[in-house]
């Protein structure tokens, strides 16, 4: 039986990689992928906790949350990719540093 802490550490590592990639990368596709990475890191911790709680009081709510996150991630991917395509058409770039019009 793998202790829950192992999963959580893995989840934290994955999440940190996602955050780091988000901050460092300039390509918007990569940034998008790092968001997915973060979401899945969270999913991993949900599943780990769900398994942990199942052994104690037979609850599965963590797994239900994972489905929510997946649905939201799918929707976000659809909208996000559409935005990226629209952006690329108008600005001909995927570099987020060049897309800084939303400011005062």
């Amino acid at each position: 039986m793998v202790p829950v802490a192992y999963y959580l550490v893995l989840s934290a590592i994955l999440f940190s990689i996602g955050v780091g990639a988000f901050l460092i990368k300039r390509n918007i596709i990569t940034i998008f992928m790092s968001i997915e990475l973060m979401l899945n890191a969270v999913n991993l911790s949900f599943v780990a906790f769900a398994n942990y709680w199942r052994q104690i009081n037979h609850q599965f709510s963590g797994q239900i949350f994972v489905f929510f996150v997946m649905v939201v991630a799918a929707a976000e991917a659809a909208v996000g990719l559409a935005i990226i395509i629209a952006l690329f058409r108008s600005r001909s770039t995927l570099n987020v540093d060049q897309v800084d019009l939303m400011k005062l």
Binding site: L23, R26, V96, K103
Partner: protein, 662 residues
């Protein structure tokens, strides 16, 4: 209705108000005939109404009170829209509506070629509204409404020629000087509320009569503050300087507001509140001294003036001084009598002067007039009646009322003889400067062609007439009516010493009757009255003779005298430099204080500074914070991550245990 008849007193002021509203709101689009019709109608109907009231006056129980509406009510204090009528109000109503109506008629001719014809008549009706409110009021607050309102109308009409800076300045000056007086009136009202709990005339006066032990003290304070108000409105020392400048307004306005009615409001107020003054001999002395001093100094200032309207303005100040002198020796009836006759002859003088100015296409300088009696005969004869009236020749009206005052001053104890002597001297000066005006305008050589030498037309907008011409009948009819009144107006108070019955004073007696005579009289008799009348006639004759010598027989003499008594002449010519002294002593320090202390230090420094500082702080902070919004997604994400990390650290170290005080 049996019992108390309903006179509909509220109609008296409301009709001119309606005239003001109609002309003021729509007059701009009306033809001139319609504007005049509205204005005349709004003043003619009150004349008729006053006439009907006069007709049934004997059957009224006085004072007749008519309640219109509840106005102010605060706790136990009431001030309502209530009009009252007694003998004094009746006299004032006759003067205001009668003279007011005549001047409205005259204005149709005088203002015929002016810009803003509708505006002029709207203001004139507004003035009538407030003036009627002032005299009909049955409490001090309503009187104050009228009091302020006539000040407003006066301001608007003095500054009627809005494009002339001097006219606008004169309007402001009048308003500000009146403000000083109004301040006194307000304080007097506050004291009345404090001591009596009411501002109703009847209640205040009955409380005073129930307490014979109240002498002087707070009553003196109230009386003096009221007198301050009266000096402002009635142009007495020390607040008289606005009246000569008020001559910037159209001449009929000078006649109506600054001679016949508004400036007598102060006299009316003192007469109305005589119960208070009666209890304070010291306040009465102040009234008498101010009146005497004003009448003398104003008369001397009139001597050297060359502007025909300014002579009349100083003469008005001087005559108002007589009225206050009358009130100051507790001869209120005499004061009000002079108010009435003065309304006739001074309105006539101004209107006749206006007719001269009209004839000369706007020229007001007497040095370029002369020998006009053949060219404008009606004006000449009516003016002559007025000159004789104001100079005090029997049987003209001015003689009767002025001698009434002088006689009452003579027989009063204390400084009575001194008042009488100064008043008598002033009567001589009055005769002198009035005949000076008369000779310079109507006699001697024709100097009208010399107007280029003086070099300025005062420009009432009559410039396009050309040629000296008599005024139209619409101006001459009011002149003639007023001339008749100036001659016979005094007969209603013909003194007992000269075989009359002094009906006017006896008519007012019910109003001025008091339980206790404030000023002791000594040795009055009919013979004395006759002798004094003779003396003052002689003095007036002397004044006429001197004027005749200087300005008709030997016209080169005044110049020589002016050179010989150069200092005195300069002093009088510059009106004792009172304007300049006020400018240096009051206006300059106030301006300095306003500009540098109030404006620069307090306004700009403290008030503006603190708000600017608050604004700048927020703006600066905002500018710094705004740099966070770079538009760069990665920097936003960085802030987000930083915040999350911070929360994580706080949670990790235990927020509640380490970061919150227990």
């Amino acid at each position: 209705m049996n019992g108390i008849p309903n006179l509909h007193l509220w109609l008296l002021p409301i009709l001119p108000l309606a005239g003001f509203l109609v002309n003021g709101l729509f007059g701009r689009r009306f033809p001139k005939a319609l504007v005049s019709a509205v204005a005349i109608l709004a003043t003619a109907i009150p004349v008729i109404q006053v006439a009907t009231i006069v007709a049934r006056f004997g059957s009224l129980t006085l004072p007749h009170v008519e309640r219109v509406a509840t106005w102010l009510s605060a706790g136990g204090f009431h001030a309502d829209l209530v009009f009252q009528l007694d003998q004094l109000t009746m006299v004032m109503l006759c003067v205001i509506t009668g003279v007011g109506f005549l001047i409205h008629v005259y204005s149709i001719g005088y203002m015929a070629h002016e810009e803003g014809y509708w505006r002029y008549f709207a203001y004139l009706n507004l003035f009538m509204f407030f003036m009627l409110t002032l005299v009909l009021a049955d409490n001090f607050v309503l009187m104050f409404v009228g009091w302020e309102g006539v000040g407003l109308a006066s301001y608007l009409l003095i500054g009627f020629y809005v494009l002339k800076t001097s006219a606008a300045d004169a309007g402001k000056k009048a308003f500000i000087f009146n403000r000083v007086g109004d301040f006194g009136f307000l304080l007097a009202m506050f004291l009345l509320i404090q001591h009596f709990g009411t501002l109703n005339y009847g209640q205040v006066f009955s409380q005073i009569s129930m307490h014979p032990e109240w002498q002087g003290g707070f009553l003196t304070a109230i009386a003096l503050l009221m007198m301050l108000g009266a000096t402002g409105k009635s142009a007495q020392i020390p607040l008289y300087v606005w009246l000569p400048d008020a001559m910037e307004g159209p001449t009929p306005v000078s006649a109506l507001i600054h001679a016949a009615t508004m400036v007598t409001a102060g006299v009316y107020m003192v007469a109305r509140t005589h119960v208070i003054f009666d209890r304070s001999p010291s306040a009465l002395t102040v009234v008498a001294v101010i009146g005497t001093a004003t009448c003398f100094f104003a008369a001397t200032m009139a001597i050297a003036q060359t502007d025909i309207k300014r002579v009349l303005a100083y003469s008005t100040v001087s005559q108002l001084g007589y009225m206050f002198l009358g009130c100051g020796v507790a001869a209120y009836g005499a004061g009000v009598f002079h108010l009435v006759t003065h309304a006739f002859f001074k309105a006539l003088l101004f209107l006749a002067a206006g007719s001269v100015i009209h004839a000369l296409s706007g020229e007001q300088d007497m040095r370029v007039m002369g020998n006009l009696r053949k060219k404008i005969p009606v004006t000449f004869w009516t003016m002559t009646a007025a000159v004789f009236a104001i100079s005090g020749f029997p049987p003209f009206s001015g003689f009767v009322s002025k001698d009434d005052i002088l006689y009452n001053a003579f027989i009063s104890s204390g400084w009575g003889k001194a008042y009488w002597f100064v008043g008598l001297l002033t009567a001589g000066i009055t005769a002198f400067y009035m005949f000076r005006l008369w000779y310079m305008t109507f006699w001697g050589e024709d100097r009208t062609h010399k107007s280029e030498l003086v070099g300025h037309g005062h420009g009432d907008g009559h410039g396009h007439h050309g040629g000296i011409h008599e005024s139209p009948w619409v101006m001459l009819v009011p002149l003639s009516i007023l001339a008749i009144l100036s001659v016979i107006g005094g007969w209603m108070g013909w003194p007992e010493g000269l075989g009359g019955n002094d009906w006017f004073t006896h008519f007012l007696d019910p109003v001025f009757r008091v339980a206790q005579v404030p000023v002791q009289t000594v040795g009055g008799s009919k013979e004395l009255e006759a002798i004094l009348a003779g003396v003052s006639t002689l003095v007036a004759l002397t004044g006429w003779f001197v004027a005749h010598t200087l300005y008709y027989a030997k016209p080169e003499l005044p110049g020589k005298l002016a050179r010989q008594f150069h200092g005195l002449y300069e002093l009088v010519l510059h009106k004792y430099w009172v304007d300049e002294i006020y400018g240096a002593v009051i206006v300059a320090p106030v301006l300095f204080f306003s500009r540098f202390v109030l404006n620069l230090l307090i306004d700009r420094g403290i008030i503006d500074g603190s708000t600017y500082a608050a604004g700048m702080t927020t703006q600066g902070f905002g500018a710094i914070v705004a740099r966070i919004q770079s538009g760069n997604i990665r920097s936003y994400a960085g802030w987000l991550a930083l915040g999350a990390a911070l929360l994580l650290i706080v949670t990790y170290f235990g927020f509640t245990t380490n970061f919150m005080l227990r």
